[in-house]
């Protein structure tokens, strides 16, 4: 009887220690997750800012001005443009 009790006590202690370690590990992992989520949010914000920047640089009026003035481009004469129609059912 005493032996059994001793064994059970030992099992209990081991279990308790296990619980403590796993709890600790869970918290550590969670803190890491939290950190990564924060980074994701930060990157999302950065993405928004970059998107904003891209839109600003890519403003149609700006692109057109550079194309015309700096690169000396012009709209092709419609007579030199061939419009090719896609046959029905063809893949995009």
């Amino acid at each position: 009887m005493a032996k059994l009790n001793l064994l059970l006590l030992l099992v209990l202690v081991v279990c308790a220690l296990g619980l403590v370690t796993s709890q600790h590990r869970a918290r550590k992992l969670f803190s890491e997750l939290e950190h990564e989520e924060g980074r994701a949010r930060q990157l999302d914000v950065e993405y928004g800012q970059l998107q904003l920047e891209a839109s600003t640089w890519g403003l149609h009026s700006r692109v057109e001005k550079i194309a015309r003035d700096t690169l000396k481009m012009h709209v092709p004469d419609p007579r030199r443009v061939v419009v090719v129609t896609r046959p029905a059912g063809a893949a995009r």
Binding site: A26, K28, E34, G48, Q49, L59, H60, V83
Partner: protein, 576 residues
Amino acid sequence: MSFAAAPAVVRLPVWRARFVLVIFLAGFAVLVARSVYLQAMKTQFLQEKGEARFSRVLEVPATRGRVLDRNGEALAVSTPVKSIWVIPADVEAGGEAKKKLSRLLGIDTRELAKKLAETDRDFVYLKRQVSPDTADKVDALGIPGVYEQREYRRYYPAGEVTAHLIGFTGVDDTGQEGIELAYQSTLGGTPGSRRVIKDRLGRIVEDVGSIRAGQDGKDLTLSIDSKIQSLAYSALKDAVAADRAKAGAIVALDVRTGEVLALANVPSYNPNNRSRLTGAQLRNRALTDSFEPGSTLKPFTIALALELGRVTPSTRLQTDGGRYSLGGYTIHDAHKDGVLTVAQVIQVSSNVGAAKIALELPRQRMWEMFNRAGFGTPPQLGFPGESGGKLRPWKSWRPIEQATMAYGHGIAVSLMQLAHAYTIFARDGELVPLTLLRASGPVQGEQVISAHTAREVRKMLELAVEPGGTGPRARIMGWTVAGKTGTAHKQQDGGYAPDKYISSFVGFAPASAPRILIAVMIDEPDARRDYYGGLVAAPVFAQVMQGTLRMLNVPNDAPLEPLEMPGKGDEAKEGT
């Protein structure tokens, strides 16, 4: 246990042992009572206090959704900024630190001193929405009592080009105008909060649960094509400047899906910097202003007459040299013609012809025609302040009013309504429902007139842009065009101003299989110069239409030959 083995020992009185026992028991009783009290009665309070040592409630901020054009290009984006606030009583800063602070934030030193003097308040904004860089520099000053708060600021990369359409948000990130207001519930997120456990170092180690689930705003994809929008805005802006006009508006629709591809107004404003705004700049004329459209309404009268079988396109009418008296009024044409066919009435835009045809039609049917074309009711785009125009009940129409309505006077519509109504002619008689959001494909509309009538009117509208019509400047190389010009006197003090006009043009292309419909309105072009719709509004139409068809790769349906433009003043001029 017996003391008998030690007879030498003096026997102590029994009460002393009892006394000690009682004292011990009493001590235990107190401890038990205390623990019962703490465990049973005050548990909740103690648990709360304990939790407060490690658990924290975190706000989960929600970001506002982006507004994108149909190709995914950003038209409105929120990005975090910082607001600087202080607890005035806690601020400890010397003269040097204050000077640095005022320079960083760009506020006057005296104003700063005034704000810091409000020591009876606990929260004073020094400056809202500063860039994160500036906020970091303020933080680096290390002045006690100065705090930062994270906020979002909305940026509009396309600026004035999309200003009226997108609108803007207030400082608290809720929509105040345009799409931002109309779709506030979609774009706006709801901030949430959650309870977490933090460790000694402030790291979050456990998520206890969420108190309020937050939700980020959803992105909104519009039907707008930012290339077409940009083209439309710049063409309109140039035209308004060249004609020294007061204002202008343009709308471009996809005929097959009812999507609004472009919507621009002049004068515009920069939504990123709204410090000096006037009401005129803010008005979204295309949607909220109604005007008497003039001749652009004639095709509806003619369509009804054709539909009722009163006339055919070749029926001949006497226009009496452009004068027609009715009930004490005289209706004028801008040109003197004799006998015209119904098709020619549209082509040269004869008021007399349209009025004579209208008087043959029942008032009620005419009202129904206008009503079913969408006049008198807002186009239901969900946009704030959409105008429904003005269409009076038919019972109150006098004959002269019925006659003037035939050529677009005594009835008011918004430019969007006008464009919407013209989808009837562009789509074989169907009025297509409009949308500002990207649609998945062609939609069905309500049949207003028969396909046969719609095609006949379309032929007349093609004639109107031929040389000899009122709008040859609307033609473009490579595609056939159909459309109608309008020049209306502006209403003023209950009458008509003799020298103030609204010039308009509504048309679509390619005429053989319409894809794009564009409506242009120029408000008060300089009357000493050109003011006819065919001279002022039609060139804008042509410029935008050509660019749009090219961008959308619409196959040509007309020979690619340079167009011969009529000499100045050679084209027919419409009377209204």
